[in-house]
């Protein structure tokens, strides 16, 4: 798979620094896990962070910290085994997604269904898998807000280009597209969307008129 649309670099740097909210971190992380080019960028930011760690002014740690750490290590020296994947039967999903619980598919409009992804509840954006029928066409809408979209299967196109598996689309209020889903097969995307009614981007336009997520 050739990836031709990548997240903005600032988003990758926020991802590397660990400052994205969960839904955004998930979508960017799944892209990065499948994109060596962006993985290199993230690793470069991590190396810069490592250099910052070396340069930072040390701050004294609690006097008993080493002993406390050692006694906790002695209690359980090894990592706990990872639990079985939460969404164990979804072998088609990218590995980074399998540890999340994913809700049942529900139909939101003709040719359109979504599966919500259970997050920890700390952020303001939701994440979900969205499946749309081949050849679906969008109505024009105007919204504000931000939406991150990662194509997992199939494709869609708008004036920004064609988006196939692994491609990342960053939608904000400056962009006004009329996307069309590719004819070849259903399009499955991982989407992070702010829980605001004023939503934007491909799928915001698609489902905005029909559902409140």
């Amino acid at each position: 798979m050739t990836i031709s649309h990548h997240p903005p670099e600032e988003l990758l740097a926020d991802f590397a620094a660990g400052t994205l909210e969960e839904a955004h971190q998930l979508v960017v992380g799944v892209h990065v896990a499948g994109c060596p080019r962006c993985a290199r960028f993230v690793q470069a930011i991590e190396q810069l962070a490592g250099a910052a760690l070396e340069d930072v002014q040390p701050v004294p740690i609690a006097p008993d910290a080493f002993d406390r750490v050692m006694s906790r290590i002695q209690e359980s020296p090894k990592e706990r085994a990872a639990p079985p994947p939460a969404s164990g039967t979804d072998h088609d999903l990218p590995p980074a997604l399998r540890k999340y619980r994913i809700g049942k598919r529900r139909r939101v409009a003709p040719g359109l269904s979504l599966r919500p992804i259970e997050l920890s509840g700390s952020g303001n954006a939701r994440a979900f898998l969205l499946r749309s029928a081949p050849g679906s066409r969008m109505l024009e809408h105007t919204h504000t807000g931000t939406e991150l979209t990662l194509v997992l299967e199939g494709s869609f196109s708008h004036e920004g280009g064609r988006f196939g598996p692994g491609d990342f689309d960053y939608g904000d209020d400056e962009i006004d597209h009329r996307p069309i889903v590719g004819d070849e097969c259903p399009c499955v995307c991982l989407v992070a969307m702010t829980g605001d009614l004023r939503i934007n981007g491909f799928f915001g336009r698609l489902i905005g008129p029909f559902v409140r997520l």
């Binding site: 670099e9 909210e21 490592g50 070396e54 930072v56």
Partner: protein, 218 residues
């Protein structure tokens, strides 16, 4: 913009000692002097192989206070920074066998552990605030909740290290202040004595430059 977690950060602390810290920050990229270079990767390897307590103590003494320092800079409270520093050291012991010098330098690897623990801590805290009760929450997150989702690593650490050296000192500095220390742009402008617009354009240039260098190296 995207970083909602930032909204939960404590306000920037009182800027006592600012000038000294600024001076220290501005030494980025400067020579480290004749200080003997410790092979942290070797120490981590000794922890992985034989549970070498002496090696671990040296790692602890060097990194725990630095993790705490960096977490404080990035807006954690003193208690949070202490907790993250201690938990990071425990994770270093437990994950030492996973450390691969081909994918990251030791400080970068340790940063990623601390970063993930901080994400977990902030998420639990936000969730606890929202539930208005900490009692339902486990002390340690499940594996399923941890932030560690970057599964593929590029075996390229030496080339990545060479690439970031090609950034100018100014560019490295602005990336560090903005993303790693999470300073707001107006504060970066006053710290560096440059206009706000220059901060934004310098970040953009640094991002583009880093992409270009990495693409050329690939």
């Amino acid at each position: 913009m995207i970083a909602a977690i930032r909204a939960f950060k404590v306000p920037i602390r009182a800027e006592a000692g600012l000038s000294r810290r600024v001076a220290a920050r501005l030494s980025i990229g400067a020579s480290k002097g004749p200080k003997a270079k410790v092979d942290w990767a070797d120490l981590i390897g000794r922890v992985a192989l034989g549970g070498d307590r002496e090696a671990f103590k040296r790692l602890f003494e060097h990194f725990a206070p630095r993790i705490k320092g960096l977490m404080l800079k990035a807006g954690c409270t003193a208690d949070e920074a202490e907790e993250i520093a201690q938990n990071t050291m425990i994770a270093i012991w437990r994950k030492a066998h996973q450390f691969d010098p081909a994918t990251a330098g030791a400080p970068a690897w340790i940063f990623t552990i601390a970063r993930n623990l901080r994400i977990d801590l902030l998420r639990r805290r936000v969730r606890a605030d929202r539930l208005q009760s900490g009692s339902e929450l486990p002390d340690e997150p499940d594996q399923a909740e941890t932030a560690d989702i970057l599964l593929s690593r590029v075996q390229d650490s030496a080339r990545i290290a060479a690439a970031i050296k090609q950034l100018s000192a100014e560019q490295s500095m602005v990336v560090r202040l903005s993303f790693i220390e999470e300073r707001p742009h107006p504060e970066i402008a006053s710290t560096l004595g440059i206009p706000l617009g220059t901060v934004k354009s310098r970040i953009r240039l640094a991002m583009n430059r880093l992409r270009d260098i990495l693409d050329e190296e690939a």
